[in-house]
């Protein structure tokens, strides 16, 4: 394995973007990084800058306005990158599938690699999804 790949897998930096969720998954993502679950011990760092991120964590069913921002964030993130869709509404629209202003899933906007189920997804599931994402990142990096 290349040194860069090894470093990337050892400490994945995540970019979190909310494109229309109810906040439940967002606070669970933060809870996954804080002491009880502590994903930071696995090297996961939440970063605000897409140019430094490896994993994009997206919540919410996406609407036309947030889709623009999401697409721009996806394009700014350097390759290799993986996208984790957290929550039922990020996967299919969930309870919001009847709403007028949603696309019903993040995969209508950007390609998604890992789906984390749950409404709201539990921190354990989110950490599990991140680990699955790292496996995909390794494949994409040619490792």
């Amino acid at each position: 394995m290349r040194l860069v790949t090894r470093a990337r897998l050892k400490s994945p930096w995540i970019l979190h973007f909310d494109c229309g969720s109810c906040n439940g998954c967002d606070i669970e993502i933060l809870a996954a990084l804080t002491p009880k679950f502590d994903a930071e011990r696995l090297g996961v760092v939440n970063i605000g800058d897409p140019k430094q991120a490896d994993v994009i964590v997206v919540t919410g069913p996406a609407n036309p306005r947030s889709a623009r921002a999401l697409r721009s964030l996806y394009e700014q993130t350097p390759d290799p990158k993986v996208v984790v869709a957290v929550g039922a509404c990020a996967a299919t629209g969930g309870v919001f599938r009847n709403c007028e202003n949603v696309f019903g899933g993040v995969d209508k906007v950007i390609p998604v690699d890992v789906y984390v189920p749950g409404c709201a997804a539990r921190p354990e599931q989110i950490i599990d999804g991140l680990l699955l994402a790292l496996r995909k990142l390794k494949e994409k990096d040619g490792g």
């Binding site: 970019l15 973007f17 909310d18 969720s21 998954c25 967002d26 609407n63 947030s66 309870v95 949603v102």
Partner: protein
Amino acid sequence: MNETEQPVEVNTVIPFGPQHPVLPEPIQLRFTIHQDKVVGVVPNIGYIHRGIEKACELNDYKKNVSLCERVCGICNFMHAMAYCEAVEELTDTEVPDRAKYLRVVWSELSRLQSHLLWLGLFADSIGFESLFMHIWRDREIVLSLNEKTSGHRIHLSTCAIGGVNKDMDKGLISEYKSGMELLERRIRELAPVFYKDRSVKDRTVGKGVLPKKRAMLLGAVGPTARGSGIPQDMRRLGYEAYSNLDFEPVVHDEGDVHARLLVRLEEVFQSIRLIKECLEKMPEGPVMNKNRRFPNGATVVRIEQPRGELFYNVMGNGTKRLRRCRIRTPTLANIPALVDILVGYDVSDIAPIVMSVDPCISCTER
């Protein structure tokens, strides 16, 4: 004329958001900056709009409880409760006494969870990372109580039309009591940091001042209004079991970020006290009163959310679908105040001032 003699007025425009590390949610604020001072703010919303109000008209009115619960994940129980109260009024359903007390316990638990979340995020916004981690560690006590109640950490889903769909047995009540004791002890240990610590005070005292008159004029609600000396609290309307409980709204007069911080901190202790009082006073009896009538007519419900007044206007037409479900949330009412208090402060103060009104965009846009 020499060009250097003419001072040039140059304003810079800085977009804050939609994706920003301080805010977990997307809102865009466009700041006009002159010499490192904010001179103008334009809020730009619509990133989370889903159209829940319209979806409420399309669904069966009973299914709307879980949809309204997901207007906002942080104060989910209160949204469900406000919707249920409105429908109960339209269908003439009497809520049993025990259910009223249980609703107060769970809505105060939501408030605790929300305020602790905010205290942590606020500490993060002023760069106090270790305080953020401590507060979020203690918040897990509340979430584990949620989990023991309904099997879910965030969405309690215990509120239903006509009462609540879960009861507490003696074991759970004693776990609630010991959980509240533990939480109170932990937060008492951390509280002096917010009152006395120099690095907290430097970033908060005298920043983002909202005088009392201005707060009234701009229609501020909740802790934002109470931090400016307005004793406005919808719980004093006495909905559910609040009329039997003893409490006074927490008010601070300074109107700055520090005052709003202390209002929320003291409301944490207030909520713990209210939960304990409810658990003591809770009567025995049924928790659910079913009614098969369809909602007819129109009604208004106002309850106190962690961020301020929540307003539901529900109109039914005697069928299983509602005619209209209008929701007005506290953050929407606080946006004029937010735009006002940012002007005149440094760029470095933007993050704590924005956080100080506790913006919940998911509520605002629905």
